[in-house]
């Protein structure tokens, strides 16, 4: 209490810091605004270019609001390109990968956190160790394996390779460990099977972790480029990212539709961000643990 009074006394004695404070705040606002604007400017330019004629996209000074709206750029993307197919493909891969990952990772994590058996910790160490290994190290044998099972040029190549992520196991285990042992013990005494404990007691308690991993995996899969580039050859199987890249290299001069395609491709991720901002941030922070 006494320190508070001292502090406030100091503030009244020295008037200057208040003016300084005001100046400092203004400077911070200006700097943050400039930074934020420079982050957003390319997006604004993209959105504006997506409704412009080819000629107007490159006119300078930039005409942020076009004199004539070229909505045809968008209809071109959706009618002349199999963009709808790309969309469905991307959604299918992202949803199935995420779903499988949630299931396999949570059951595995349950074994690592809640069931005691001798080899448990050694196996878990193996999982953690592989989290350090960059994807490029596994890339070639994975490709050979997928080729041997005959899944090249199939969505299942990407879904299977994404479904067993050790990071998901690691994340779920962290959450499981934080739940008190008495909880599952009590449920077992009440006659619940081990699967019942997992399904009815543990899983409902870690909804935030599920939400975070869902968002993290979904975004990762949605934005993935190298995977589809390696495994998908047929146009009808392409994901959005791969389709856009093709569009870019094949129709090098159609900038308006290219920008419209880019806008369409990023809208879902931005929507998810706005709907689940907090889970998103958590997922990113948790995702950061990954090597």
């Amino acid at each position: 209490m006494s320190t508070r009074i001292e502090a406030s006394q100091m503030m009244t004695i020295k008037r200057r810091p208040q003016l300084g404070e005001w100046v400092r705040k203004t400077v911070v606002y200006v700097v943050v605004s400039v930074v934020a604007l420079s982050m957003v400017l390319p997006f604004l330019w993209m959105v504006s270019a997506s409704v412009k004629s080819e000629a107007e996209i490159f006119s300078f000074p930039i005409q942020w609001i076009p004199s004539h709206f070229f909505w045809s750029n968008y209809s071109k993307v959706w009618t002349e390109l199999p963009f709808f197919t790309y969309y469905l493909n991307t959604i299918k891969i992202a949803v199935l990968t995420t779903l499988l990952q949630i299931i396999t990772c949570s059951t595995a994590a349950y074994a690592f956190a809640k069931v005691k058996f001798p080899e448990r910790d050694k196996l878990f160490f193996l999982y953690v160790a592989t989290m350090m290994v960059p994807y490029q190290v596994m890339m070639i044998p994975q490709f050979v394996l997928i080729d041997k099972i005959g899944l090249i040029d199939s969505h299942w190549a990407l879904i299977l390779l994404g479904a067993f992520n050790p990071f998901g196991v690691f994340l779920f285990r962290q959450f499981f460990m934080s739940l008190p042992e008495e909880l599952s013990e009590a449920a077992r005494i009440d006659g619940l099977s081990e699967f019942g404990v997992y399904m009815r007691i543990i899983m409902p308690l870690i909804r935030p972790a599920i939400a975070s991993l869902t968002i993290f995996t979904f975004m990762h899969s949605w934005n993935d480029f190298l995977g589809p580039l390696i495994y998908l050859n047929s146009d009808v199987l392409f994901t959005l990212q791969l389709g856009m890249q093709h569009f870019q290299s094949e129709h090098a001069t159609e900038y308006g539709p290219l920008m419209a395609a880019a806008v369409c491709a990023i809208i879902p991720t931005i929507l998810i961000y706005f709907l689940a901002q907090d889970h998103f941030v958590e997922g990113i922070s948790a995702g950061a643990v990954k090597g």
Binding site: V32, F43, F60, K116, V133, P134, L145
Partner: protein, 294 residues
């Protein structure tokens, strides 16, 4: 009795593990080991596998493209990691000071990170367009008659890619720092205020030490991510012009999936792994001197 319980637990454990560990062993564990073995062979994926000893690794020494790629990756890391992290810390500290509209600013700065690299890259490619792009239009309007040709110039291409990568990743690290800053107790600053410490000294003596575990972590992550850059390079420059933006992972991709030299590409991948491992270990060694876990 005890062994019976043990057997039951083991059965339960493995039943829960089964779906994941099966995929894990086949698609992750096995490939990690297999590519180590492949790196000592000559193999195109179809024909016979020829044992090649250490020749893939010795070949790396004299491979000019690999050397250039390695150098480019190192330059990229040395420039983009410090720049990204410093900007991200500053942004986080500014946003943490209770500005109005924090959420709007946070979203704005975070936006590039949630956008797919491909979408980001196609936009930047147009912005950088040497003759018609808005960037050079702006520079010309400032009176610069011969602005750089950015991605089309061997001198500027690497720099241009680095700028996009910084822009793309600031938001990600900023979010991590923001989370870290929120964990610093407010009374530390109040005490420092009473002692008459200025803002700069507070930043140096409170914020940085308290944030050091997060900084340590982001430095490691930043370096790893920077060595693994691929999408940006692929769409922006394809490693060009010449080899001016050729990077490690791009080189691995080309060697494996365009030239089908699986053995050689695996050796490259293991070198990448080794580099990441060594850098990480060095940092873990050095952390005692500056990372403060309290």
């Amino acid at each position: 009795m005890k062994s019976k319980a043990l057997r039951r637990n083991r059965l339960t454990g493995y039943t829960f593990l089964l779906p994941n560990i099966l995929g894990f062993l086949i698609f992750i564990c096995f490939p990690v080991c297999a590519s180590f073995l492949i790196s000592f062979t000559e193999w195109n994926g179809f024909g016979e596998i020829k044992f090649a000893g250490l020749s893939n690794y010795t070949r790396l020494w004299s491979d000019e493209t690999f050397r250039i790629s390695l150098l480019n990756s190192l330059i990229m890391t040395a420039v983009s990691v410090p720049a990204t992290l410093i900007l991200a810390i500053l942004a986080a500290v500014a946003l943490n000071k209770g500005l109005k509209g924090v959420k709007i600013f946070r979203t704005a700065i975070f936006l590039p990170h949630i956008t797919a690299t491909i979408a980001v890259a196609v936009v930047w490619q147009l912005i950088y367009n040497p003759t018609m792009g808005p960037l050079n239009g702006f520079l010309r309007s400032l009176g610069i008659d011969n602005p750089p040709t950015w991605l089309a110039s061997t001198e500027w291409a690497l720099f241009s890619v680095i700028v996009v990568s910084i822009w793309h990743s600031i938001g990600y690290y900023m979010v991590l720092y923001l989370a870290g800053l929120q964990g610093i107790p407010k009374d530390l600053y109040e005490a420092a205020e009473i002692d008459g410490a200025g803002k700069v000294s507070q930043f140096r003596n409170i914020t940085l030490p308290m944030l050091s575990p997060v900084i340590f972590f982001t430095v490691i992550m930043g370096i790893i991510n920077s060595f693994k850059v691929f999408d940006l390079v692929f769409v922006l420059t394809r490693g060009g012009p010449g080899r001016s933006t050729h990077m490690l992972v791009y080189d691995i991709y080309e060697t494996a999936f365009q030239r089908y030299e699986y053995g050689y590409a695996s050796a490259m991948a293991y070198v990448l792994f080794a580099i990441i491992l060594v850098i990480t270990l060095i940092q873990f060694r050095g952390q005692k001197r500056w990372v403060n876990y309290s």
